[in-house]
């Protein structure tokens, strides 16, 4: 599984995302407070561009009338039908066992390592003094 260098870390600050194309696939790269995750930009429900959806928290409740919100910005709501996905796992919140968006391993690598390969750099030069987001596709 080739490893693709998709962006300098500084290009995707915490709380933001970047959609990249790797080997013909659109993939959304998400930075959750410094941790990176990658999901296929295609909702398993009906194929919407999932990674362009709204970032929300996880709404839960211990009992009727009590509202709790945790994991702010860690859920992705599909722009078509509002299904929520856990960015960390790709699982649908409503149907975690049977509905899952494809997730890809992501690492952060120093430019120094990348210079040695074997990586597929995208259309930007890699500098040794920077860290990069690398996705296994």
């Amino acid at each position: 599984m080739p490893r693709h260098v998709v962006a300098p870390v500084a290009d995707i600050p915490p709380g933001t995302r970047k959609i990249v194309t790797i080997r013909g696939r659109e993939i959304g790269i998400f930075n959750l407070a410094g941790e990176f995750f990658a999901l296929l930009n295609r909702c398993p429900h009906q194929g919407a561009e999932l990674c362009r959806g709204t970032l929300v928290g996880l709404a839960t409740s211990p009992e009727p009338g009590v509202f709790e919100l945790s994991r702010r910005g860690e859920m992705l709501k599909c722009p078509w039908h509002g299904w929520e996905y856990d960015i960390r796992t790709g699982q649908s919140w409503c149907d975690p066992n049977d509905t899952k968006v494809r997730a890809y391993p992501v690492t952060v690598e120093p430019g120094e390592t990348l210079a040695k390969g074997p990586f597929v750099a995208e259309t930007f030069p890699v500098a040794v003094e920077q860290d990069y987001v690398v996705v296994d596709v």
Binding site: V56, A59, E63, P64, G65, F67, H81, G82, W83, E84
Partner: protein, 367 residues
């Protein structure tokens, strides 16, 4: 209760008798019949003010469907005779137990004190005039939901009598039935092992459809399914099932063949906007399948038995339907209480197993 007679036992084995009829209607002849069960103040008020005829106009006694021709006596309000109910509904269907759902205008009365007094009288009348005289009968507790505190008092009073097996509510009141206002009633029912029955009917305080007032009775009648759906949505999404995990709700005369498409729509909508109601942490269909039961009659059957079998498969559980005749109302002819498409195995469940599981208080009677 002792062992069933031999012919009943045989009927049980064949899935044609020994059933628990979850909807029969002893009729209140009029206020005169309730007077002995009202306290002196209300006795005098009823007499002085000439209060009578509190039948609900959603299903008036004079219409043909209110009493099957072979189940009514000329000049009598259908359902007023215990002898007829015995012969027609109990012996007629080999029924082992039947749950009485008297419908009278309690919920339509604005004065909540009078409504509560009337509910109390109806329950006392039911116990004395029907349950005491026929051991195969069980009762539903009429309550005045206008004031849940008073309703809870009445539940507490009646719950000491094990023959009362459910609390009876009306489908079209003035607030969707999942509303928190009703939760004390649900808590009291749960505490006492009573189920909640929601019966078709309206107090006509609001339009009988969500689009406003229809012009014709048939619109009212057919639209009942719509308002049952509204109540189910309310019960799920307000969190009534979440809060009362042990409680069973029985939809009485709601029909059930609309369930599959309704459940699909409810689930689909929940997936999109469930954050509005985060306490609903499973698909609505799961709450409904776990908590809600439906009486058999009237059945809005599809054209063929094969269609019905497919539909039952879509409903997906064989524990949701409860045998009922809706006696003396005219929902079917002869003894043709079963729509086409029910297997014998399913009939057996619907006749006995499902009612026993829906009404915890019936189990003791049948052990």
């Amino acid at each position: 209760m002792s062992q069933p007679a031999a012919h009943i036992a045989q009927g049980i084995a064949q899935g044609i008798a020994g059933g628990i009829d979850c909807d029969v209607h002893p009729a209140i002849p009029g206020m005169a019949a309730l007077l002995p069960y009202l306290d002196p103040y209300w006795q005098e008020q009823v007499a002085v003010r000439g209060i009578d005829g509190l039948d609900l106009s959603s299903f008036p006694p004079q219409m043909a469907a209110h009493g099957r021709a072979d189940w009514r006596d000329k000049g009598e309000k259908p359902g007023t005779s215990l002898a007829r109910l015995r012969a027609d509904a109990l012996d007629g269907f080999g029924t082992q137990l039947a749950i009485c759902n008297p419908l009278y205008g309690v919920l339509a009365i604005y004065n909540e004190h009078f409504a509560a007094a009337l509910a109390r009288a109806i329950n006392a009348w039911l116990a004395a005039e029907w349950l005491d005289r026929e051991s195969r009968l069980r009762g539903s507790i009429t309550v005045a939901t206008q004031n849940p505190e008073l309703a809870v008092d009445e539940i507490e009073r009646c719950a000491t009598d094990p023959r009362f097996v459910q609390v009876l509510l009306l489908n079209q009141g003035d607030t969707p039935l999942g509303n928190r206002r009703f939760w004390p009633i649900y808590a009291a029912a749960e505490r006492h092992g009573l189920s909640i029955g929601i019966h078709a009917g309206s107090i006509f305080r609001h339009a009988t459809t969500s689009n406003g007032w229809p012009s014709y009775h048939l619109e009212d009648y057919a639209a009942h399914a719509q308002s049952f759906q509204s109540n189910l949505l309310s019960l799920v999404h307000e969190g009534a099932f979440t809060r009362h995990p042990g409680l069973i709700f029985v939809m009485i005369e709601s029909g059930f063949t609309w369930l599959p498409t309704f459940l699909w729509r409810a689930n689909k909508t929940w997936r999109g906007v469930r954050a509005e109601v985060p306490w609903v942490d499973r698909p609505p269909s799961e709450y409904i399948r776990d908590h809600v039961r439906f009486t058999l009659q009237p059945t809005d059957a599809p054209p063929t038995g094969a269609d019905m079998a497919r539909l039952l498969a879509m409903i997906g559980r064989d524990n949701m339907l409860l045998f009922s005749t809706d006696y003396p109302h005219w929902q079917f002819d002869g003894d043709n209480v079963w729509p086409d498409g029910f297997s014998n195995a399913l009939k057996r469940r619907v006749l006995r197993d499902n009612p026993m599981n829906a009404y915890p208080r019936l189990k003791e009677a049948l052990q």
